[in-house]
C-alpha cells in the first residue's frame, strides 16, 4: 500500500484567494463606472469595504492564536490600536505646518498643551520606512514581552484571557492621558497625506482599499503556509493537549510565543491600514469591548478556519453598518442573539456549515 503525505486541503484557500482577487478587481472596475450606472460602487462604499478588510485581517490574526493555538486573546484590539497609533503619528508628522496653529515642528495638540518640543518617542516618525517598521515592531514587542511572562509561567485558559483584557484596558487608560503625548482623549486626527498622496482624494481611497485587500491576501497566505507546515500541526496539538505535546519534546511556550507575536504584528498591520481610511485614531480603539467583538466575529464566522474568520468579520460588520442605520438600538441585541444562536446551533460557525455540506457531498 502506497501512502502519501496528507496535506490539508488547499482548495479552500485557493478558492478564497480567487474570490478575494475577483472582488478587489470587481470593486475597482465598478468604482470607475459613471455614477448613473446600475453597478456603480460609491466612494463611500469603497472606504467602508476597505475598513471591513482591515477588520478581516484583525480577525485572521485572532483566529491564528485562538482557532489554531487555543489562546483566547481578549486584548487583540490593543495590538490593532498600537499599529494604528504608529501610522497616526506618521500622518501627524505629514501635516507639517498646515495645522491650525501652523507650527512646523509640533502637532496641533502639543501646541495647545504649550509643549515646546517633540517628545523623544516621536522622533523618526517623519520617515515612512521607520514608521512601517514600528507598525510591526511595537505590537510585536509588547506581545513578545507579555507572552514571555505569561507562557513561561504557564498561564492558560480563562486566566490568560482576563490578563489580555486587563492589558488592553490599562493601555486605554494610559492613552487617555494628555501626558502620554499622543493626543489624549481626542487621539490623532486631521490627517492630510500619506507618501505625498492626498488622503481625501477618491483615487487614494481606492488605493487604500486595494492595499488592505492585498495585505489580507498576503497575511492569509502566510498563515495558511504556517498552518499547513508541521508547525501548524504542532499548534493544533498544543490547542488540544498541551501537556502531551510537551512530553513529545516540543517547547510549547516557544511555539505559543512565536505565533502570538506574529499574530500581534498582523493586528498592528491591520490597525495601520485602518487609520488612514477612517481618518482618526483615539484611545477608544483600546476599549475591551472592541477586542471582544473581534472574538465574536471569529466565533460566528468559524473558529479554526481562516476563511471563516474573514467571513465573520465582513458579514458582521456589514450587518452592523446596516443595523446601526436602520435600527440603531437593536444592534447589540441582534449581535448578542446571533452569537448565542451560532454558539448553540453551529459550534463551528458559518464555516462549519460549508464543511458539513462538502463532506456530505464527498460521502454520497
Amino acid at each position: 500500500m502506497k501512502i502519501k503525505q496528507a496535506h490539508r486541503s488547499r482548495t479552500s484557500s485557493i478558492l478564497f484567494m480567487v474570490v478575494l482577487v475577483t472582488t478587489l478587481v470587481g470593486v475597482t472596475v465598478c468604482n470607475r463606472l459613471p455614477e448613473s450606472h446600475s453597478l456603480y460602487v460609491s466612494n463611500y462604499m469603497v472606504t467602508l469595504l476597505g475598513k471591513y478588510l482591515t477588520y478581516a485581517i484583525l480577525a485572521v490574526s485572532v483566529d491564528l492564536v485562538w482557532g489554531y493555538l487555543g489562546i483566547l486573546s481578549l486584548g487583540h484590539a490593543a495590538f490593532f490600536a498600537l499599529g494604528g497609533y504608529a501610522m497616526g503619528m506618521h500622518l501627524m508628522r505629514q501635516i507639517g505646518d498646515r495645522g491650525v496653529y501652523g507650527n512646523p515642528d509640533l502637532p496641533d495638540f502639543m501646541v495647545f498643551l504649550n509643549w515646546s518640543e517633540l517628545p523623544w518617542y516621536w522622533i523618526g516618525f517623519d520617515n515612512f520606512a521607520f514608521t512601517a517598521l514600528m507598525i510591526l515592531l511595537v505590537p510585536g514587542l509588547l506581545a513578545f514581552v507579555f507572552g514571555w511572562f505569561a507562557f513561561r509561567s504557564r498561564v492558560n485558559g480563562v486566566y490568560l484571557s482576563i490578563i489580555t483584557q486587563a492589558l488592553t484596558y490599562a493601555l486605554m487608560l494610559a492613552f487617555f492621558r494628555n501626558e502620554m503625548g499622543l493626543g489624549g482623549n481626542n487621539g490623532l486626527t486631521d490627517f492630510r497625506e500619506l507618501l505625498g498622496f492626498d488622503l481625501r482624494s477618491d483615487d487614494v481611497r481606492l488605493g487604500l482599499f486595494l492595499a488592505s485587500g492585498i495585505a489580507l491576501l498576503v497575511v492569509y497566505g502566510l498563515c495558511d503556509m504556517i498552518l499547513r507546515s508541521r508547525l501548524g500541526k504542532v499548534a493544533i496539538a498544543i490547542r488540544d493537549a498541551e501537556d502531551r505535546t510537551r512530553f513529545l519534546g516540543y517547547r510549547v511556550e516557544r511555539v505559543k510565543l512565536a505565533l502570538f507575536t506574529l499574530s500581534a504584528m498582523i493586528a498592528g498591520l491591520a490597525g495601520a491600514l485602518y487609520v488612514p481610511q477612517i481618518g482618526i485614531i483615539n484611545p477608544g480603539e483600546f476599549s475591551p469591548l472592541n477586542s471582544i467583538e473581534v472574538v465574536v466575529w471569529v466565533a460566528i464566522g468559524g473558529r479554526g478556519t481562516l476563511y471563516g474568520a474573514v467571513l465573520g468579520a465582513l458579514g458582521i460588520n456589514y450587518a452592523k453598518t446596516w443595523f446601526t442605520g436602520a435600527y440603531p438600538e437593536a444592534w447589540l441585541f441582534a449581535l448578542g442573539l446571533l452569537f448565542v444562536l451560532v454558539t448553540l446551533a453551529l459550534p463551528k460557525g458559518v464555516a462549519g456549515l460549508f464543511r458539513r455540506t462538502s463532506s456530505g457531498a464527498n460521502k454520497s
Binding site: 500500500m1 501512502i3 503525505q5 496528507a6 504556517i226 507546515s229 508541521r230 508547525l231 500541526k233 504542532v234 493544533i236 496539538a237 488540544d240 493537549a241 501537556d243 502531551r244 505535546t245 510537551r246 512530553f247 513529545l248 519534546g249 516540543y250 517547547r251 510549547v252 516557544r254 511555539v255 512565536a258
Partner: protein, 282 residues
C-alpha cells in the same frame, strides 16, 4: 528522616558544586557505561501531607523490560511523573544514564533526551489524523524554524507506514485519531512512542480496554521492543504482567516492597499481605 552525610555537599571540598548554575543543564551524550539507564535514589514526594513517594530507590538496566505493580496509590504514576519532569520530588536524585540529571530539566528537555511516555488514559491528538500523530511523534528536530520548514522524506514516510502497519492502523492512516476505538487509541499511543524512538519507555497501563487478542499482540510488541529500548510497564492486569515474563517491582505506599521474577513475587509474604490483607497470611 535523617539525611546521610554524603547528601550534603561540602562547598569547600566540592569545588565543582559551588556554582550549581555553571553545570551544563543538558549533556548531549548519554553515558550508559554502567549498564543502567535510570537511577532513582532516595526520592520523596509529599502532596500536601500525603507521602506519595517515600525514600524510593529504583533502577532500570539498559534494554531491560521491567514491570511495576502495586495497589492504587502506591505511587506508580507519581514515579513516572518524576522521571518525565511533571512532578518535582522534595528530595532525592534522578539520573538518566551517568550524566543527565533529570531534576534539572523540564518535560520537553527530558523527552528530547530520550524518555518517552504513554499515559494511563490514551491521550492522542484527536483532531489530527493518525498520520499526523505519528509524524509529530517522530524523533528529530524540535526547533521552531525547523519544524516550520520540515519536509517528510521517503525514509520517514516508509517508517510511518511500517509503524502504522505494526499497530494495525494502516487503514485509518488519514482518519482523525478521535474516531478510533479505545483499544486503537492505545495502539496509536504505542506507535507514537516507537516513532519517538526513546531509550527509555514508560508505559502506563497499556492493556486497559484491550481484548485478549490485542493484549497478546501488545505483549509481543513490547517484548520485541525490549533490548533496544529499556521499558518500564505499569499494569494492573496480572495475566498481562505474567505474559511479559520480566522482572517485577512491587510498590507499596511509595516505596519498593519487593523485586524479583513474577514467581518470586507471588510467593513473597510481604506482597501477599499487602495484596490479600494481613489475616490471609496466617
Amino acid at each position: 528522616m535523617n539525611s546521610t552525610p554524603q547528601s550534603v555537599p561540602n562547598p569547600i571540598i566540592r569545588r565543582d558544586r559551588v556554582f550549581e548554575f555553571l553545570i551544563p543543564k543538558q549533556v548531549d551524550d548519554l553515558d550508559l557505561s554502567h549498564g543502567t539507564v535510570l537511577y532513582l535514589e532516595d526520592i520523596c514526594v509529599n502532596f500536601d501531607g500525603f507521602q506519595a513517594i517515600n525514600n524510593l530507590n529504583f533502577y532500570v538496566n539498559t534494554g531491560e523490560l521491567h514491570c511495576l505493580i502495586g495497589p492504587n496509590g502506591a505511587g506508580k504514576t507519581t514515579l513516572m511523573d518524576i522521571v518525565t519532569g511533571k512532578t518535582r520530588p522534595d528530595s532525592g536524585t534522578a539520573w538518566f544514564g551517568q550524566r543527565i540529571n533529570l531534576l534539572r530539566m523540564d518535560e520537553a528537555d527530558i523527552a528530547q533526551a530520550g524518555i518517552g511516555r504513554k499515559f494511563q488514559k490514551p491521550s492522542v491528538f484527536e483532531n489530527l489524523s493518525v498520520f499526523d500523530n505519528l509524524e509529530l511523534s517522530m524523533d528529530g528536530t524540535r526547533k521552531l524554524w525547523q519544524i516550520f520548514r520540515a519536509k517528510l522524506d521517503g525514509e520517514s514516510l516508509s517508517r510511518i507506514e511500517s509503524i502504522a502497519q505494526t499497530i494495525n492502523l494502516i487503514e485509518h492512516l488519514h482518519s482523525p485519531a478521535g474516531m478510533l476505538s479505545h483499544g486503537q487509541k492505545q495502539w496509536l499511543e504505542i506507535g507514537m512512542l516507537i516513532m519517538q524512538n526513546p531509550l527509555l519507555l514508560l508505559v502506563d497501563e497499556p492493556a486497559a480496554g484491550m481484548t485478549h487478542q490485542e493484549m497478546d499482540q501488545t505483549v509481543e510488541l513490547l517484548s520485541s521492543l525490549a533490548g533496544e529500548h529499556a521499558i518500564v510497564v505499569v499494569e494492573h492486569d496480572m495475566d498481562f504482567v505474567r505474559a511479559l515474563n520480566s522482572p517485577v517491582t512491587v510498590l507499596h505506599q511509595g516505596s519498593v516492597l519487593a523485586t524479583g521474577s513474577m514467581t518470586d513475587i507471588q510467593s513473597n509474604s510481604d506482597v501477599m499481605r499487602v495484596y490479600l490483607g494481613t489475616e490471609d497470611v496466617a
